[in-house]
Symmetry: C2
Subunit: 309 residues, 2 copies
Amino acid sequence: MSLTVVGSIAFDSVRTPFGERERMLGGTSVHFSLAARFFTEVRPVGPVGDDFGDAELDVLASRGIVVEDIERVAGGKSFFWRGRYEYDLNVAHTEDTQLGVFGDFEPKLSDASKAADVLFLANIQPDLQRRVRAQCTEARFYALDSMNLWIDTARDSLLAAISEVDCVIVNDAEIRQLTGESNLARAARAVMSMGPRAVVAKQGEYGAALFTENGFFALPGFPLEDVADPTGAGDSFAGGFLGSIDSHEGEIDDACLRRAMGYGTVLASFNVEEFGTERVARLTREEIDERFELLREMTNFEVLPASAK
Amino acid sequence: MSLTVVGSIAFDSVRTPFGERERMLGGTSVHFSLAARFFTEVRPVGPVGDDFGDAELDVLASRGIVVEDIERVAGGKSFFWRGRYEYDLNVAHTEDTQLGVFGDFEPKLSDASKAADVLFLANIQPDLQRRVRAQCTEARFYALDSMNLWIDTARDSLLAAISEVDCVIVNDAEIRQLTGESNLARAARAVMSMGPRAVVAKQGEYGAALFTENGFFALPGFPLEDVADPTGAGDSFAGGFLGSIDSHEGEIDDACLRRAMGYGTVLASFNVEEFGTERVARLTREEIDERFELLREMTNFEVLPASAK
């Protein structure tokens, strides 16, 4: 079992009503990899600049994430994002984005990365997603994320990329925008008609919904009284989701996908408890499994006693 | 078992991208009563005008709803609401509201209505809610709904009303507004600290969440590909929720409340499939139970075969 992810490795400066941090380790691949690593071998692919030091690399390497496809570009600068969140943490404002070495990124996959069992094409330009997809031919499950920017500026490429994966994991507003269909169930069916057999609609604090040919499944966000920083929650969700799928030996059926939704929800919930990677970087598998059981009880019509609290 | 509801009985003129209707039977008490009647005896209390004819009354009476506390005010006009929904049905615009006889409403409960086992104080002025509450002393479960208008204009009265009920059923934005707390779990706990032992946060298409002393439960909205008119969905939810609770003979524990959340979700889902009361007025208990089972399967981590589709 191994999972390859292609996406940003970045520094994030974030301000929320509960604090702020300058140039934290961040980016989709980072949040994704830290989450997925609890379940399987993970190989992030992507460029960083000279400003990305051994300390940053060690956050990943010390968790056993395979960092050999993280390419340090001499003289370059890492992807940088600055954002702030309102008192209502659902409202985020991007204040600065600097692509840095990510602007000229041409993915180069090692043989080991090409041989992944599961591939996640994080939110990058769709033609890049397709070039990675073409190199990675042996996976049993392909998934991609995208965003409004690519729906607006590279729609045809994005549709082609979608047709080449098994699963699309995007925000529900983006599914609506992509399909021009305001009804989510119809919009998800429209995406599935393009090729994927599963659509995951991320819904922020409301949780996430899974559409497959066989049915529908939804989980609420795990209820937390203390949320410090939502940055990377969706990426941690995808990491828990695909990591769980990669660790599953049998058929990737609806039961497997539902369990993966649960792990995605749990990893996202830990992510937001502290800033950046702070919480997930010291998370344990025991904490994950405990919260997974709580989530199962919280969504069960029959109330279990004791630990349901 | 019997359930008394105090709230509007109205005519609604509604336009959505899928059609429009003039002066349909509507109002909170109407949607609520039609939904709750599948589970228990229901007594709506409230005024109507001369314009409310036998045909309207018969929609309720023919379903076995006890209409003796619907007071026809000679020379008066019924509550009237006109609204339209955008292509995104989550966005509604009120174009006209005429209180009519509801403007001078002073609730008069018959002895039978006073003797209710469950009381629902729908969204009316909080002092009125309290006067009804004071007349109805034998219920084993009291619930209320409210709205931003009363939070802004009658906050102290509303807080007093809340302290006198077991359960608050409101939109999640209103729980946040009421408590000044953007985190929903904290906001719900703040409401519970005022007295209620349960808080239901209605979340529109995302479903609803239940907070109790013992835990948390959430259900997604039932996924529908065809939604015609969201008007009354929240009231149908409350009707299914409290009707189910009233029909429960044992202790009103978390299992009872969770099952009630399921019935609320199911009734709301039928409500929105057609305009106004059209769908629920000809709904059957068999259809309700079938969808309840689907909902249970859709929220279960273990996939059941066959009917999960």
